[in-house]
Symmetry: C2
Subunit: 249 residues, 2 copies
Amino acid sequence: MTYCVGIRVQQGLVFAADTRTSAAFDDVRIHSKMHVFEFPDRVLVLLSSGNLATTQTVLARLACDAENEASGLRSAKHLFEVAEHIGQTLVAAQQLVANNNSPNPVNVEATLVLGGQIRGEQPALYLIYPLGNWISASPETPYVQIGESKYGKPILDRIVRSATTLEDAARCAVVSLDSTARSNLSVGLPFDLAIVRTGELKIAQTLRLEADTPLYVEIRDTWSRKLEHAVHSLPRFAWETDAAKIKSA
Amino acid sequence: MTYCVGIRVQQGLVFAADTRTSAAFDDVRIHSKMHVFEFPDRVLVLLSSGNLATTQTVLARLACDAENEASGLRSAKHLFEVAEHIGQTLVAAQQLVANNNSPNPVNVEATLVLGGQIRGEQPALYLIYPLGNWISASPETPYVQIGESKYGKPILDRIVRSATTLEDAARCAVVSLDSTARSNLSVGLPFDLAIVRTGELKIAQTLRLEADTPLYVEIRDTWSRKLEHAVHSLPRFAWETDAAKIKSA
């Protein structure tokens, strides 16, 4: 499994990904799932989940494309066209092995997130399915997730809006990853974080959070403390206030 | 789908359940999934998920048992024996229809939560599987969930400990249900809440929360506001403090 999330707010884009890949409980490794392409007129960030052989094939091919100015990656005028190009690359990588019948069927599908900005356009964010088709983040749902998406979704739903600051969105993404890694063993540290500011056409910040990175430790501890405080400050039940009235009477 | 959660803290037990049952998107109804049995020497609360015909069969049989002092429900000395009795009732209900082959296979399994207290014992909390076997909540994992459990799990993991007050645990349960209902259409209002205080051998409080119940509205709004505040109060990234230093210099 994997958990990656991309967020699009007015100020720009946030990308966050875990790094654990697992073929089985006893076959666990660390691979980055965040892949950055920067060119003078565009910045592209890809997050990957699913079959590792497939995503590495896609990445290897896209890295070749990146050297060719005429490739879909570099020549497309619109980000959705880049998403389609990557979608086709993904489908081709899956089809390469689709007919290699094995007695132990393996799911070779992968799912990707593509975000970025091309000069002349607003930043955009896409989820690319194994079929090669895509959906875009929207103002109402300003994020896309791949992999183990459920544990980390409520915090995104409650907090992230288009007007949320880039840094608050990034803090949300870290909490969302942390919640997921606590509940699904196949999602694990270190976490990769990247930020693209609207109009800059480059990565503004990247960060790798390890278990002992002070910022990560502090975010995790503060979050637990604040959440406890938040629960405790929720409205009282009627019988609590009644009991308090009786006591104070 | 369904979402129910039971929590066991030192002060007692919390039970919370949604009420939506759905055979399909266009076949949605409201049924209580919380079932209470009170006797002078014991209190039992059952939460149900899965096939509604199965859970109603189980409940109908347990209601008969409740009239008979010698039944497993009333005569068992230990709560785990009640769990086993209910587990056997569940298996029997499933087996009733197991061989009625249909061209459209239907999953007739159900999963239950049993919590309560029998005089002379501490309160206890069990998850009863379709096989009729069970697991117990533990001091390290003081809750059990059935149905759509993922969205509402992080808040429980971060907050609920054995020392948490009964009311804070109940507030957590409401937030956990609310998070789930936001993300899974098959989980829906109204929510049922019940509380058992250690040693009382009866239901201390029950509550039904509708969409317009002032307490529920207030909990939901306060939670979103507090969470936003919590995110905003998380540690700054290095580049934010650097930028602040430059500004103030």
